[in-house]
Amino acid sequence: MENLWEFLSLRDPNIRYVVLGSILLAASSAIVGTFTLLKKKALVGDAVAHSVLPGICLAFILTGVKNPFYLVIGAFVTGWISLVLIDYITKHSKIKEDTAIGLILSVFFGIGILMLTVIQKSGNAAQSGLDHFLFGQAASLVGQDLLVFSAIALILMIAVLVLFKEFALIAFDTHFAESIGFPVRALELVLTTLTVLAVVTGIQAIGVVLMAAMLITPAAAARFWTDKLTVMIFLAAGLGAFSGLVGAYISYVAPAMPTGPWIVMIISIIAITSFFLAPQKGILFRMITQRKFQTQMLEENILKLFFQLGERADHKYFDTRSVDDITRRRPFELSKLQRGLKNLRKQGFLEATATGWVFTQAGKSKGQRITKLHRLWELYLTEYLKIAPDHVHEDAETIEHIITPELEKRLEEQLQFPSMDPHKSQIPYQR
């Protein structure tokens, strides 16, 4: 806990830089990654991430120093080459894109690992820390490294800000973009370059193995919460930044631990939570709505039944009905019925008596309305859609629960307040 306060207070300038850097990197790759996701290029992002490793190693071998500037250039070059190769293979052979991606990814990464092993065996003192590029080490993000990577991150954000409209257009409809004369190829090139750069910024804090996740996952999580592209981008940036912050903290309390897996784990938890919790699209939200609807149907069906029992008993609506009376008319599942009855009492639509249950005034109104809607809908189906009277009951059983007061009014007016339904039952209007 003390650690956390110490960390969050940002008193130590070192911590301040690491935190700032991690947030910047994670946010910028999330922003660029939003377009990678929308263009359905998630796998390409993964290939690039793995393909920068040989570039990093090569830069180190050629220069003999661990200068972030050279390493970035090396990473950028092999990252790009991998993309060009994927493109070339897909266009000029029978190999499909996904296969080409898998091929390039493993070949480049394999070569990278090989070179890394050679470097580590060579005994060059400067190489210590090069293996951080595999799984990331946020705490090593200081001095010159921090400067270079943060500068790239800023460039990325500004580029997306300036070209937002253009990127959105080519992600949605490339042909249209081309037809209005936008330089689509150039724009694609810029976006690809930004993607490679976004990968490059993350190599130190997150590592090449998991960098693709930082590109795609924040955007995927954000998509669950919004249908607006601008909101989606900000949200992705925020979620990315948060996981970056957590990564920096882990790196601070447990310096031996690689940061990449932690950061990715945090953002993945966020994504999975979104999958379950997000409104409209989340699984949990859908389950809850389903349940709510089922409960509503059950309760309204009980009230409707009470009303119909009253109708049959010579309009004595406020007599006690026993559970037997109810199930004789309609075979409810007993446990559900009991639950429904109790809920209705809580809501003030029914009251319990010594021998059973009885309507309140509000309960009678509601039961009456549902009965009316059921019969009106049956009439509507037979009159307007010419459906046989013996086919309309099932349909009305559902529709009666979803008709809004406005629709109810229109239904009444269109049918001109009829008095009988197709089965010659009275339609009960409120007076």
Partner: protein, 263 residues
């Protein structure tokens, strides 16, 4: 029956288009009159979409040239509008109806600039013309097929062009929407605009179009609707006579032969 016109809005000269060496359009020579509603008709795989894409510069030409208003496309681009088949985009994209219609203004706006208030008003007016004003803020994934088509039309209207190419705007729309769309096209043509429409239904083609282009890998016919929609010409378009052409095309792919000597 290939009728040519003076001062055409569109001229195709010896147009050949190939995919992987396989020609899908052979030596098309075509001129189209201005201010007409023009139907492009032919069986599946006849190359209708390809012809429109090649006119819009979206697929490379193997030979020939395209002139629009007697100019090359880049100089007259702002006067031309292209409506792709609606299946060509992902309607799950995070955008509202308004966002999509505003894209029609991007050509006039150019790079880097954001839509202005005036653009939004034009977009809203275009939505009104296709009867979709109430849907302006609706997420596009929540639209029906017919509504998606209307949104695409509104986007095209927002371009304020003089020549429109529409790839199957009637596909998957109900009768009411079809009627609304054709009325819109009639209004456009009264304003002197030319509308070129890829279409599949021969019955309605008779009443919708002033001019018809029959296509099946090659140009079969082009002329006023009543001269072109004859049983002989339709038979020639839809009948099996072109299998030879298709087979030669297949051969060119297999042998990786260039379709032109100088390639």
């Amino acid at each position: 029956m290939i009728q040519n016109v003076n001062n055409p809005v569109l001229e195709l000269h010896d147009l050949t288009v190939t995919y992987n060496k396989k020609p899908v359009l052979w030596d098309i020579d075509l001129t189209l009159p201005s201010g007409a509603i023009i139907g492009v008709i032919g069986p599946n795989g006849a190359g209708k979409s390809t012809m429109i894409k090649s006119i819009m510069g979206l697929v490379p030409l193997s030979s020939g040239y395209v002139k629009i208003f007697d100019q090359d496309l880049p100089t007259v681009r702002h006067k031309v509008s292209y409506v792709p088949q609606k299946e060509s985009v992902d309607w799950d994209f995070p955008a509202s109806v308004m966002d999509v219609v505003l894209m029609g203004r991007y050509g006039k706006l150019g790079l880097f600039k954001r839509p202005r208030k005036a653009d939004k008003e034009v977009a809203r007016e275009c939505l009104r013309r296709v009867d979709m004003e109430a849907f302006a803020n609706r997420q596009i994934s929540q639209l029906s097929g017919g509504q998606q088509q209307r949104v695409f039309l509104a986007r095209a209207l927002a371009q304020e062009a003089d020549l429109y190419f529409m790839d199957e705007p009637f596909a998957g729309v109900d009768a009411a929407t079809e009627k609304a769309i054709i009325n819109l096209m009639k209004t456009m043509s009264e304003q002197g605009k030319t509308v070129v429409v890829v279409h599949h239904d021969l019955q309605s083609a008779m009443e919708y179009f002033d001019w018809v282009v029959l296509l099946n890998l090659r140009l079969v016919a082009s002329g006023p609707v009543n001269d072109v929609m004859t049983s002989t010409l339709l038979q020639e378009t839809y009948g099996g006579k072109l299998t030879l052409l298709a087979e030669v095309g297949e051969l060119l792919t297999k042998k990786e032969f260039p379709s032109r000597e100088n390639q």
